[in-house]
Structures are given as C-alpha cells and as structure tokens.
Symmetry: C2
Subunit: 304 residues, 2 copies
C-alpha cells in the first residue's frame, strides 16, 4: 500500500491559504518528497506527515517555488535526531550538484546528503520494492516528471501448488520468486504455482510543463496521475502556453490517453481562487478528475 499526499497545491508563490505544490509518497514508513518550495516543512506538518520518515527528495526543476524550502526543511529534519548513519538522497535534473550545495550554504546538517543528477529515463531504487523513474518535461528550464512504482507479488495459486503436491513450507519462497528444490528431488519454478502477475501500484507526478504527449506514455496505466492545472479556464491557453504550463483540460486529455485510473490536478495559479470552478469541464474529458487540496491524501492499494 502506497500513501500519496499533496501537502501543497499552489504554484509560483506560497499563499496564506495554499502551500506550494509538492507530493509525499510513503511506503512502510519510508517517504519520498517531490519538490520543496518555501513553507513545505509547514505543509507537511499541517498534513500530519512525519518528516523523520523522509528518505529521498526528488526535485522537478530549479525554480524557487519548487526548491526554496529545502534548506529550512533539511535543518528541521536534522532536529528530528537524524545522524551520520542516515543519509538523505536528493535527486533531480542536471545542475543539482551545483545548485543544492549553494542553497544549503546556510544549512549545516548533522547527516550526509547524497546528490544525484539524473538523465531523462533514469531509474532509481527506492525503499523496498519501490522504483522511481524520470522523464523530461517541457518547461522554461530543464524539468523532470517522476513515476513511482511499487512492485507487487503475483497472485499465488494454492490449487496449482496442491496439484503439484508442493509442501506448504515452500509456498512463501515460491511466491517471492524463488525456485525451490523439494525433498523428493523435484525442482519447482515460481511460474508453476502462480495464478497471474499483478500490476505495480503506481503514481506519476508531472509539473511544470507543456502538455507534451510523452507524459501520457510515461504515466501509462498509473493508479494515480498527478498533473498540472495552472488554470481551469481554457481561455487562458495562450498565457499558459507562453509560460510553458498546462490547463486542466490538457492534463485531463493526457490522463485519458495514459489510461490512468485517477487524476489529481495541482500547481494552481495564485490568481485562481477556487480550483473547483472549472473542474466539470475537465471531468467531461476524464471523469475521475479531482482538484488537489492542501493535505489531500489517498492510500493506493492496487487492484486485487
């Protein structure tokens, strides 16, 4: 089960009633944070998330509204008692190894920070069975989208195992993907006792960007697609394109194309007071669309 939360949903500047866009993905008490604008440490607190669980920070791009809260948050993380033996990974687009140390010049930390500059398409291992991939988006500066997949065990078939007279003590190993040798000398492969594979539990996060078709490919079949909705009103199309952002309707089209199960919109313009206002138009394109709200949370269980 993957916990996904949007502690903040605003773009450009923090507002008194809307924190800057970021995303918290937690699995078995280990968390990944995507983006960290000014105030994100407070947004996490208000959302009831535990900073001490943070393993990794992914940065989409180096605009201040996505990264200016890093120094303060990492200092607060230091105050949770994190020490030398608990490194934090920060990954993002090229430039990271220069920019992050520059931002952290005011933040002496009691734990190590590991930096990773990614190339589009790179994969990173996360905690346990999590894997993280990135893709190039199309913004004014290099910007990445991220996808987190939690690999799931296939469906085990007790019937097949019984039919092959596999003793129960061997079931767990077989279900976990190991080939076993039985006391009677026979070798049994996992495939022989598996009913069917299960799709990973997956979430994608793509902002700030023009609505390029590559996003639909990248987010193929995700349980939850988190995408940009700078404005809901299609009449803002020109302004949004000029700034290299996306509209509700454009992200809804991508979600449909991706075959996503749900879509959460985020990164709202400060000028948009009510993100629910143009939601119906987006739902006409992709019905399972929601406008993000600070602190919005879900537990992704995957199918079956």
């Amino acid at each position: 089960m993957l916990t996904v939360c949007l502690p903040g949903t605003g773009g450009f500047m923090p507002l008194v009633d809307r924190w800057l866009t970021c995303c918290w993905i937690e699995y078995q008490g280990h968390a990944i944070l995507i983006d960290c604008g000014e105030g994100t440490q407070l947004a996490l607190k208000e959302a009831g998330l535990h900073l001490s669980r943070l393993d990794m920070v992914l940065i989409t791009h180096f605009h201040a509204d996505h990264v200016a809260g890093l120094a303060g948050m990492l200092l607060s993380l230091g105050n949770t008692g994190r020490g030398e033996d608990q490194p934090l990974m920060i990954a993002g687009p090229p430039g990271l190894c220069k920019i992050i140390p520059a931002l952290l010049v005011i933040a002496p930390l009691p734990y190590p920070v590991h930096l990773a500059e990614l190339s589009p398409g790179d994969s990173l291992p996360g905690y346990g069975d999590l894997s993280i991939t990135c893709t190039a988006l199309k913004h004014r500066i290099p910007c990445y989208g991220y996808r987190v997949d939690l690999k799931r065990r296939p469906v085990f078939s007790p019937e097949k195992a019984d039919a092959l007279s596999v003793p129960k003590p061997f079931w767990k190993k077989l279900h976990g993907g190991e080939t076993v040798q039985l006391p009677d000398g026979r070798t049994i492969c996992p495939d022989q006792v598996i009913e069917r594979p299960r799709a990973p539990i997956s979430v994608s996060y793509c902002t700030d960007t023009l609505p390029i078709p590559e996003i639909a490919e990248f987010a193929k079949g995700v349980d939850l697609m988190i995408a940009e909705g700078m404005y809901g009103d299609d009449s803002m199309a020109e302004k949004v394109a000029e700034k290299r952002h996306s509209l509700y309707s454009q992200s809804a089209r991508l979600a449909k194309e991706a075959g996503a199960k749900r879509l959460w919109l985020t990164h709202f313009s400060p000028a948009m007071q009510d993100p629910e206002e143009h939601l119906e138009a987006a739902r006409a394109i992709f019905s399972n669309t929601e406008a993000g709200k600070d602190g919005m949370k879900t537990e992704l269980e995957g199918e079956d």
Copy 2:
C-alpha cells in the same frame, strides 16, 4: 513617524502559528526589512504590509531562519512590477556577497540587487532622514545588530524669529537648517531661531546574541528596543548561553541600562508555547517590556 512591525517572532524554524523573526520599519512609504526567514513573505502579507514599499533588506547573520525566505520574497517583489530602475539594497555581515548570490541562483529577478558587506560600526543612509548603523553581536557566527534613527527637525521658536523681525517666508528654510540672508542685509543662522533640538526617533534590533554590554551602548535611549528572548525561564540560562542566545531577563537588563523607552522581546524558542508566561519577571527588571506577537505594530512618534 516611524512604523515598526514584527511580522514574525519565532526562532529556528517556522511554526504553523508563528512566523520566523523579522522586523519591518517603514517611513513615508519606504520600508526596511531586517531578516527574511522561510515564510517571511507570508508574514508580511498577514501583517498587512506592502512588499512593494521595500527599499532595503538588512541581514543579521546567515543562519537559515534569518535568510532562507529571501529568494521567494524577492521573486514576489518582482511580481509587484518592480523594474530595472528600482534597485533593492541588501546589506549584512561579511560573506554576504558570496551567500546572497548563491541563494538567489533559483531566483532570476527583473530588478537590480545591490549588495553591501558592512563592518561593525558602519552607517548606511536610508530613505529621507533615516540613518542605519550596525554593531557586532556575539553569536556562533558573525552577527550584526541594527539601529535605525529618523533625524527630526529641532523645535522652531516663532518668538525668537519675531524678536529678530525675521519675515515668515524665511522660517521654513531656517527651520530646515539653512542660514538665510534677509532683504535688509542681515544673515540669520538656524541656531538663532531654534528653541531646542529634538532627539531622533530610533529603534534597535539585536538578535541572535549573548547579552553583551555593547548592546546597551548601541541602543542608548532608543524609543523601541527589539531584543532576543529565546526563553523566559531563567533556568534555561546554561542552554541559552551555550547556543549564544539571550533570556528575557538578560534583554530586560540591557534595555534598562540602555535607557530605552520600550522593549519588545522576540525570537522565541519553538519549545516556548506561551511567550507571555515569564513576562512578569522581565517587567520586574524593565517595566515597559512586551512579548512580541506576529504582526505587532507601533507608530513611533518621538517625544513632543
């Protein structure tokens, strides 16, 4: 008249109900901000202050809780329409010319930023009749206190002017400090028509620091002394000294010694939930002591 506001009063990290310590000093629509931690741009907004009026930022020292909000705030200042012809001055301790550009690497600005590294005792001109001086405090890293003085015209004596038969059209110039020559050939100096000088309107801001005696000297006779109160409870003395901060009682003693008219305490520890709690003990030392509150504001009129 000088407007002084404490948009935030917390130390170390922003809290959901307490912004980080900073100070706004405004005169005739031109403002100086001292310190800019994470969230200060929101603190200003909540306090009803107009970011567009900002002329100068003074930094006490380069710990994140005093400077990490700079990039975000300066970007928002850019959104107020500030352009090429409206430079912003940022001044502070040595290191500023390296650290500020590092922090602003994520913040491309549409207006020029002028940087000034100050030495202890330096003076800077502010808008109009404002002058700013700095002093070295005693913290873990180089840290400055600031004092802002608004020079005031002396009290004019119409009686003396009449006694000398100075025609009224010359009064304003004389009051402004100009020597004039009358139509009858006489030369009149300002001193001849002045009743008495008036003390400047003044405010001092000293945090984070041990309670060194130099602070009392620096803040001599100020209308408002703003000083550190990390804790109110004197039993915290050892911890506070070790971290090179100050207690309520220590700042109250400095205010008494300085002959300040009022004292505002600020930079409270996040562990201190109610800054009013130990106020009486501080008032026993210096009666005109107040615990800062986010958004606390006063108009300093000066005497007479």
